[in-house]
Symmetry: none
Subunit: 220 residues, 4 copies
């Protein structure tokens, strides 16, 4: 339970002061997480310095450490929060009813909310980029997210191509995810029309990639 640093004091009653203090603490935590999100976005996790985060949050380094034991904890907390929201987003993206849609609409239904989420939470993406470096924070979360997404994609694929070999499904899912990720980089790196163009391009790639598999399967 983040935000409640060390105490277990205020549970009920009309004690307003502790509540207010706790509220302040929670505000600080939020403030620090927002600052961390910004810094992680700009510099990546590894290059982000706790002092920079504290500065961005407008507090002293000591304050940061009152709420987080170390740099990794910040990333974990931030990543966790984002992950939770990401899961919600993914949950609504992979809604069963979407699977009924024809491929183009399915791609819209799945990709749009996920892209939107990442556009609104660019820190999420920044945090999920520390995969290659061993020992980096977020590795576990990253893998969980990745394999979670992989499972979902495989599920959808399986529904669309029930007769495909599992190994092929895995390959394809990995490819899809890879394409999605690299496109997301491009999407996040641009704005406005450019961004829209890359979103369209991503959908084109996936549509053309998947169409043959799907059509082949469901046409007879």
């Amino acid at each position: 339970m983040p935000g409640t640093p060390r105490g277990k004091t205020t549970e009920s009653g009309e004690t307003g002061a502790p509540r207010r203090r706790q509220a302040r603490g929670e505000r600080r935590v939020a403030q620090l997480l927002a600052a961390a999100a910004g810094v992680f976005c700009r510099t990546g996790y590894a290059a982000a310095s706790t002092n920079a985060i504290a500065r961005e949050a407008g507090v002293s380094p000591g304050t940061l450490y009152q709420f987080f034991p170390n740099k990794e904890a910040i990333a974990i907390e931030l990543g966790g929060q984002l992950l939770k929201r990401a899961h919600e987003t993914h949950g609504q993206a992979f809604l069963p009813e979407n699977l009924e849609l024809p491929l183009p609409e399915l791609l819209d239904a799945v990709l749009d909310p996920v892209i939107a989420f990442n556009c609104e939470n660019p820190a999420f993406w920044a945090l999920m980029h520390g995969s290659g470096i061993p020992g980096a924070a977020m590795t576990q979360e990253h893998e969980e997210l990745h394999s979670g997404l992989l499972t979902r994609v495989e599920g959808v694929l399986h529904t669309f191509c029930p007769q495909a070999a599992p190994a092929d499904l895995t390959h394809t899912s990995h490819m899809i995810l890879g394409i999605f990720k690299s496109s997301l980089d491009l999407i996040l790196a641009h704005e406005g029309a450019e961004r829209a163009a890359y979103i369209a391009e991503l959908k084109t790639v996936l549509l053309r990639y998947l169409e043959p598999m799907v059509t082949t399967t469901s046409s007879p």
Copy 2:
């Protein structure tokens, strides 16, 4: 001949001295670049320290700075050389005659040597990857490497689709590069049949992505 610790420097007259000195310098540079390649591979660009590179090269940090003004320059030079070798040694990839080939063969002709090169020179990949923070400005060496590749891809694309809007070409090139990168991750992460499967999959993706553009263009 004081100062040269490990002898065999002056063997004959002085006619060959400048050449030998230059040769030695080039050997040093090669030595340093090889060391940098190793270190970049193992730790990534950001985490690689100049001292570590010098140590790996078996020279002192001072020596390193005699040949490169800073860390970035090493990456730039290494990337440049790798890129050059990607072309000269293996990559008859973008050879003009390849452009005559139909798309599937073209993809083979271009991708196979590039993939092979990357499998043999993982440092190249490490450099293209490292610290590529999406929203942030890529560090210069990446920029150069990346835009170099981009230019080539755009060139090929332009040859194939001469009437396409430049903006579209740029988008498509970025997408191609992104797809290529993410697939290369998968390719390098596997071996044998799995690797071959991902290579095939990459070609499938690109073929299906590009076929409509190309066909549209060259059919009349």
Copy 3:
């Protein structure tokens, strides 16, 4: 191949520069160890800061870390050097011929050089004080020194009181060492006549403590 980077270069020959460089390094190490000795003496190991040591040595913190990987290593090196000298001193203190002497002279013969050594190397004592704190540096050295001394003292005692029970010898040796240590604190904390007085007092204590045991044994 000129430019052999890492060490063992200057074995002979007329290469003066590396020798001079190496000499400078050794001077720095000695300088740093001397500074560390001073700081350890004044503040104790735990409270000694590496920056303070570097400042005392007149160098930057980075320089310190060029020669020692961390604070503990400084203490270990310093302690090791002092320990070596201490062992030599102890060796000459516990010379076999001293055991022939009557107790008062024996005490002089044993204690005087050891006290002198500690007066000349107060850092030794400061370093050997980190026993109580677990996890502190020098613990092992401290224990080795302590048990080494204990063995020697027990040896001497055994010579003097051959019929005493081993357990008693152990108790007595521990007491002797304890008395010695606490007196050494007093001795080192004073100078001149005061110091001499405490030295005399230590001898008095030990003489009176040990005389009955010894006399009882050797008088008949």
Copy 4:
């Protein structure tokens, strides 16, 4: 009753309020001192952090500073109270009537309760020990504790050897205290028969050390 973390404060009317407040304050102080004793024991004085003490006491750091101006004050107060208790509770040690006893009985009378007290209050010992850097100025609380004890010992000595030079008395007192401290280390480090043996040994040392002075003095 807001703000009071561990309830049962306000039970009746307001007549007793100031007293109760004072009582609460004393309870807090006792609580804090007990916590400090525990922390000092476990980590030593220097390594003990005020936050750790407050945490151990179950209060916030701010509260701690409401009763003590700084860390040192805690040690001083704790040492003082322990010293007081060493006297009032156990230590009829330095009772005037004890001074009438012959030396062996006097040593028993003085040492036994003091030893017992130290066995029961290891914090006292931790305080007397901690960071006692020989050459450096002892931190003030140690100074006070130490000199308090010293004064008492000197008092006893003076009674026994009224004609001795003050300087000698000081030396002897220091030695006695040193011997006592180092023996206490051994005593506390052992149990049962071993402990008893070291207690006996301590008495032997002091008896033999002091007997000549005393006898010389009181014989005519």
